[in-house]
Each structure stands twice: as C-alpha cells, then as structure tokens.
C-alpha cells in the first residue's frame, strides 16, 4: 500500500461545494489502496479577509499574533474537509500544524521548518484514517508559539510531510493543469510540461513561474520526493517534477523546459561608484543589512577617464523603498554620485538543462528578442538559464517571440536544432 500526500490550495476549497468535490477525490485515492495525507490551505479569500481585519485594529500587527490569527483559516478548511470525508463514509481526522509535528524556527510570518515529527499522523494512518493537516503553519521549537511559513507555505508543508512520511508522491492540486512552457495568460500556445527535473523547475520558479515556489521544490529535491502538480477540477495528469522521469514514462528531457517572466522587480542603479576594491562589498553589505533580497547584479566596465563605474541590481518592487533609504543613509561611507530607481522593468528567462550541451541557445535567444524589436538592458546567466531585463511593456511580446523561436508552441514540431559553437 502506497502513501500519498495531497495538497489542495485555497481556490480548490473556496466554498462548501469545492470542499465536497475535493473530499470525493481524496476518497478515490483512499479507495485505490493508498494511505492518504491531505494538506489544505485556507478557503478562498479567508486569509485576505483576516489580514484586512488585522489592519483595521492595528497598522503594524505583531508577528506572533498575526500568525495566531492567520492559522484560523486552515483550521476552518481542514475541519470542514474532514467532516465532508466522514460524510462519504470514510474516517478522517484533522490536525493543526503543531499536532502534525511541523516544528519551525521562531521567525513569525515566514518561519522555516526545522523538523517534522508526524507521530500522530502515522497513528491516524495506521488506524485507517485519512489525515487532514493544516498547511502553512507550525509551532516554534523554543517557545511553542504558533508560526506561519509565509507565501506558498502549504506546498512546503506538503513536501515536508511527504519527506517525513517517506511518501511515494506529493500531489499538489491547484486551479491550473500543471506547469506550462510559459504563462498561458501571455502565451496562448503554451504547452503543459509532462515531466521536468527539479533543477529546471527551480530555475523556472526563481524566474517568475508561480505554480510552485522555489522553497518547496528545493525541499523536494533535497529529500527526492516526486511532486505531481495537477488540477483539482479535472482528472488529467499534470506535471511531474522529479529527479528522473517516474515509472514507465519514457519522457525525454526537453532541451528547453520553458520561458518564465517576472514583472514584480525593480532596478536600482548606483551611479558614479569609485572603481576600487571593496566598493561593491560596501553596497551589498548595506543592502543585506536592510534585509533586502536582490536578484540580478551587473557592474558596467569602468570609464578609464573618471575611474568611476555604475552598479545595477534588481530587487522586488516591494523592497525598493527600503533599499533606497539604506543606501542613501550610508552614502558617505560607500561613496557614490546618485541613485536611479526604475520600476518599469521586466525579466524574461529561458530555462533548460539542455542548453549546457546545445550550443547556440544563447545566440538564438538574443536573435528572437532582436527580431521582436526588444531592447536588452541587463543579462544574467546560470548553467541552465539565461535571463534578460527589458522594458516591462515589452515582456508579453518578448515571451511569445522566444516561446515560438524555441519550438515550444503547442502546434509546432518539437525538435529545434541550434547551430553555432557554444552558447
């Protein structure tokens, strides 16, 4: 008998009908001979409504209390889901994150899981129950306070439980059919990916793909837990994310997995930085001390005549104010002329392990952008990804052009061969 962990997002359990539909699907998995653990998010807009209430009573809600508040959402959905399953004649028990043994650090609102001790879940399964677990929440190791895991936390809960219980698969149910070669809202011809490696999925996630968060995929890779991303509204196979294709699936790794884009970032350019050792370090120490996460970094070639250079980096728009303030405050220590802030940028990324061994991918990428008349402002690469920053307005057209150029459109032949030498 296999052990399956299923995770259902808020849109899948938005109302009583949704909960009943999900309950039927869970019972199917149980009837198929599996032990079933279900991780569930808060219903639909519940979390937003709770946040709204918090803002009405306090402009700066304290972390501990904010977590206590938000975790009420999953408590409601998991209890209702357990009731709905029992109403179908099957045994189910719901567990809070704390009861399920999800132990975290004490960083409220974005706690990290440091251990999972699912003794009560194991007992419930052994007694023939379906176990329903509240996603997104845990209990802190030192203070025994309720914590939340931050954005996408329910996916992480599911993968962490799957790892602790040595599950065969972690099924992530959502409102889309799987991971696509590009955002289907932008690229009509985007194709559902049948299988993708952890590495490519990690790059897609950190490049703007919203289906799975980086943190959840990273956890799954570390413990080698296959993820199956699929729709809770259909019975279709979705996208498998794993180290190797699963079972008898003869899926060959695509050269290019997909095109991701992201318009949530801004660019800061530090102008007139003396080109001497320690300058970049001073800038990024300032940013790090302000607890701002940065993404791409580019340093221009220094102008010989002045001995000054410019350093640009991208960061979430939401952290722009904080970064600017920190830099301005430390301007005397760092030494620069001025700051430029630009939040009208977009990032397009091409991801695929195949680019390691297929020369010419980079050239073809830039040609596609050039043919579409898209100007490139910054470039950054990893072994299996190329990213460029463009004007935000150019993003949709750029994504479509690249998607077509690499033969990813659903009506094109698959194989695309690249000439040239090296990337």
């Amino acid at each position: 008998m296999g052990l399956v962990v299923q995770k259902y997002g808020g849109s899948s359990v938005a109302d009583a009908e949704g909960i009943k539909r999900v309950a039927k699907r869970i019972v199917e998995a149980k009837k198929n001979g599996n032990q079933v653990v279900v991780v569930v998010s808060a219903m639909g807009d519940t979390t937003d409504e709770l946040i709204d209430l918090a803002e009405q009573v306090s402009p700066m809600p304290a972390g501990r209390e904010f977590d206590m508040l938000l975790t009420a959402g999953e408590r409601i959905s998991m209890a209702l889901l357990a009731m709905a399953i029992k109403n179908l004649g099957h045994e189910a028990q719901s567990f809070t994150g704390s009861q399920a043994g999800v132990i975290t650090d004490s960083v409220h609102n974005k706690a990290r899981i440091i251990d999972v001790t699912p003794g009560r879940i194991r007992t419930a399964l052994d007694e023939g129950n379906i176990a329903i677990v509240a996603g997104f929440q845990g209990v802190s190791q030192d203070k025994k306070d309720i914590t939340t895991l931050g954005r996408g936390g329910s996916d992480t809960t599911a993968v962490a439980l799957a790892a602790a219980l040595d599950a065969e698969v972690c099924e992530i149910y959502t409102d889309v059919d799987g991971v696509f070669t590009a955002d289907p809202r932008v690229v009509k011809k985007a194709r559902k990916i049948d299988w993708i490696s952890f590495e490519d999925m990690l790059e897609l996630a950190s490049s703007g793909s919203k289906v799975l968060l980086h943190r959840c995929v990273e956890y799954a890779r570390r413990y080698n837990i296959p993820i199956h991303v699929r729709s809770s509204f259909s019975g279709l196979q979705g996208t498998w994310v794993s180290s190797e294709p699963i079972g008898d699936k003869k899926v060959e790794q695509a050269i290019i997995s997909g095109v991701a884009h992201d318009t949530s970032e801004a660019k800061i350019t530090v102008v007139g930085v003396p080109d001497k050792p320690g300058e970049a370090a001073a800038i990024f120490r300032t940013i790090a001390d302000a607890e701002v996460n940065i993404d791409m970094v580019v340093q221009n070639v220094s102008a010989a005549s002045t001995g000054l250079t410019d350093i640009s980096f991208t960061l979430p728009k939401t952290e722009g104010r904080k970064a600017i303030d920190a830099l301005e405050k430390n301007r005397p220590g760092i030494g620069f002329d001025s700051l430029r802030y630009d939040d009208q940028i977009g990032k397009i990324s091409l991801v695929g392990a195949g680019m390691k061994t297929n020369p010419g991918v980079t050239a073809a990428f830039f040609e596609a952008l050039s043919d579409a008349g898209v100007n490139i402002e910054l470039i950054s690469t990893s072994e299996i990804r190329i990213s460029v920053v463009t004007r935000a307005d150019d993003v949709p057209e750029a994504v479509r052009a690249v998607h077509t150029a690499f033969g990813l459109d659903s009506d094109s032949d698959e194989a695309v061969v690249y000439g040239g030498t090296g990337r």
Copy 2:
C-alpha cells in the same frame, strides 16, 4: 498588585471597532495596577457562520472535527484583541485553550474542565504582559484533541482561570448592565441587582435567567471567586455575585432576589400509570437512558377507583421528540395508557434566600398570580425558590404581576412585609 480576569462576549467584540473599544478598557485595568487576564469569545456571528458551513458539508458533523472548526472563532478574536492592545502601547499575548492549560474530558461539543494548568499564562503575566485567552475551548486530557465547552463555555473558562490563578475577581462583560430582578424586555420596571449570593444566582440561572449560566456560577461558588457582571458599553458598576457582599459595600441581602421565567420547556404527561412501586423509576430510567434532562416532576394523586395515576414532567422543547420516542418504545415494559405533549407552557420562578425566614412568600406569590388571572398547572419548590408552570401566553403578565407584588419595581419602596405563618 491584584489579578483580574475579564471575559468579553461575542457582542462586545463583534467588529474591529468593538475590539478597539474593549482593548482600551483592558488597558485601563492594567494601568490601574492590575495583572490582567482576558477571556474572549468569537466575534459576533462567527460561530453561527461556522456552524452553517459545517451543515453545508455534512448533515451530522463529527464532534472532534466540529470542535476543531468552532475553535477557529476565538482564535481570530483573541489574536485581533492582542494586536489592538499592542497598538495602544501595551504588551499582550494570546493563548489558545490548550496553551492556557485548560484540560477537559473528551466529550466533544460539551466537554467539562477537569484541570487548569496556567503555567504559560503565569509566565506571560510575570513578564508584564496582558494575557488573552480563547474562551469556550480546551484540550482533552487523554487524546490531546481540541474540545469545546458548550453553551456559555467562555464564562466557564473565565471562572476556571480565575480560580486557578487565584484572581481577586472575574469580570464578565456583556451587552446588559448586570443581572436584573426580572427580564427587562418583559418587565420595564426591572431593577439592576447590585449584589446577589451564589445560591440565589444559581436558582435564577436554572430558572431561565440568561445572563450567567448555572455551570459557571456553580464553578465560581465552589472556588469562591467573586463574579462582577457588567456592561462593556458603559463604565457602570454591574452586579456582584459572591458569597458575601464585597469590600465596604453594605448591601443587605434582599428577601427576594428576582423573578425568572422560561418558555423554552415543554410538558409531557404520562397518562394511566399503574400506581405501584417501580413505575416512576421505569419512566425516568427510560428518559435518563435517552440522555434527556428533565426539570420539574409532578405525580397526581391516584384515583382510587382505577388504581391509575398520571405523571407529568417538564423538559427542554428541543428534547421532546427524543423523550416521546423513548417512552413509546418502552411502553410495553413501563405500562401506561397514553402520552400527552404540550409545548405551550411557561415557567415563572420567584427566587430569594429570604423566603426561608419570611413566612407568607408562597401565599403572596399565588395571590399575585390569582389576581392577574393566571392559572397554575404545576408547582415545584426548593428552599429558596418557588416555580409554577402556566400557559406560555400568561407568562409576561404573570412575571409583571409578581414583580410588582414583591416590591421589586424600580419606582416602589423597597421593603415589603409578608404576613401569615410559614410559607
């Protein structure tokens, strides 16, 4: 420094404004030099909304999951209240029933508190925090499952915590000014009671007064915790419930504390019962086995000619069906002619320890009812209470008549003297 436990009901924290108003009041108590523990109910209609959701997914929600669901309500209100207090510049921490050490038995939906181990509350207080505790909930001793205490459970939580923490007073904040000599919706001239003994309060509570539940008063009496029932909307003194009048209050015990009424009961008459030993036992064993709680019991004098008698008893209307079914099922074993069910009855009770020593109270009570043209169907008495059953339609007039006759009206002189000998 004194320790005060305050309890706020759902109507006091119905929205963000209510929560902010309550937060100010709590901070006042803290500023007055007290250690403050606050027990809070779910906001306004939250519990009803959750029950409605449960009914949508399952006609018979399981006890364990139902409790898990309902406890989300207090989790929301307590976290918001803690945030609102912190926003006023004071430290506050919220605790679930489980975190607060409220240990119960495993009877879901109406668990009983069997122990309170408020170690975390004590620590929070010692560190200068205001402690906010979820009312109505606990954790079962054996299975560590979340439980709820049933109707009025938050009051019981407050009194139990007050006892465990050896508080000076348990303040119950509600939407009325205190306990009245009669229901002010029925008797316009009803008077707020300044002080009432535990015993009289217990009788009022079991006779239909809704302000405090019997269970909560019983707990307070056992541990001798003074209760102060008052309005969260005004700064007025409310009603003190304690063994003796508190502090320098020279309040004399009234002869009559008040008039309670109850129209939530029905009457079942078992007609044609053989008048021999064991018959009543058979009837009430049947009722007890069906887990139906009964109130008044009256057996008529047997008719000599037939050797048959009638037995009548009252019970909550909500349990009428269950009792009738159980009796019909056991009719062969018990032996009776027929059952009569009457849900158009009402009960009027006069409560006051003074009736023990003031002869004539019973006579005056019956005279008042007679003068008002109210027919009496059943009578039951305790040492400090007389109750009668009448037609439901007669109840308002009967309550007003008795209230006036015993000098309880707010514009009458207080002292009323009764003549006659004995009750």
